[in-house]
Subunit: 191 residues, 2 copies
């Protein structure tokens, strides 16, 4: 069973025929290091499933890049705030490792919803999850301190601290790389 | 056709039997002025549909109330961030007019999703809308000025400015009632 079918099967039951439909609706996409899944100003036309690799979401704010989110293998990647209403994205999504994805277009996702018996159930549960995580993420960005955000980052993504360049992590925390070094030293000293 | 069935029919097709099921799963609730749909610290156990009336969402922050959202007739009311994961709510929801609702419990909503053919489709589209509006709302709260937020409030809810006490609107904008008076005067002068 592919990793994609495996993840969807956590939410819904599918017949063998339905699994085949899903496999056909998601097409392969390869992203080299630094290549874009989505560029700011374009409409996000795909939801991707990451089989292997890692992407970062970032915005250009006053001329400098602000990293706001990450997704890694076995996770879905999409800017739903552009994808759902089909409006230009204020966010770019870029591969920070060579990545292997399976992607589905807006139109084919509607086919999945209607063609798979529990397709809408999958869509409902997936977007419920995105909603809760997005609200939490956005709230944390404005209300938590950089140290708190770094600790949450480490507990949500224990392996990513090794895979992501420190300046992306610093940007995600809204601080300079030097400040991240200081936070890391303090946390090590506390242990 | 009831207002509730009318609104759901904007999203999905239902048979007469399914409409009856929906009508039975939503039970009537009457809230007097000042009564609570949800109190901070409790789990939000219902989604409500407002047939008549108006509610406000608020949080207690450092000992004072901060109004964060409103819902009125023909809209659904719920703190999904408590309802979906079934955790204690950090938000209260209170009637600011005498209100007539139809409410559905978490368990009965799952029955609606499975018992109505397009139930999950309704759930998916409804939560997509809540996601987009919630993210926009939260982002605006942190990035827009009080004047911008007031103008958005007036354009989203043209009739509410007359129905909601000015101090709730001021609290929603994150400012003192006197500052709201100044903003209103400036906007009137500009016309």
């Amino acid at each position: 069973m592919s990793a994609l079918i495996n993840v969807i099967s956590n939410f819904i039951r599918m017949t063998a025929l339905e699994e085949e439909i899903v496999n056909e609706l998601f097409t392969p996409l390869h992203l080299g290091l630094g290549e874009y899944f989505l560029e700011q100003g374009n409409i996000c036309r795909y939801v991707g499933f990451i089989e292997k690799g890692l992407v970062r979401y970032f915005m250009n704010v006053d001329g400098s890049e602000m990293t706001i989110y990450f997704n890694k293998e076995n996770e879905f990647v999409c800017n739903y705030q552009s994808f759902l209403p089909r409006i230009a994205s204020n966010t770019s999504i870029q591969a920070v490792e060579e990545s292997v994805l399976r992607v589905i277009s807006f139109e084919n996702l509607q086919r999945l919803y209607s063609g798979v018996k529990e397709g809408d159930k999958f869509g409902r549960i997936a977007i419920e999850y995105v909603f809760l995580s997005g609200m939490e993420q956005l709230k944390s960005f404005y209300t938590d301190s950089p140290t708190e955000r770094y600790q949450q980052f480490l507990s949500s993504y224990p392996d990513l601290a090794q895979r992501i360049p420190q300046y992306y992590i610093a940007s995600y925390l809204g601080i300079k790389p030097q400040s991240l070094s200081r936070i890391r030293k303090k946390l090590v000293a506390k242990k």
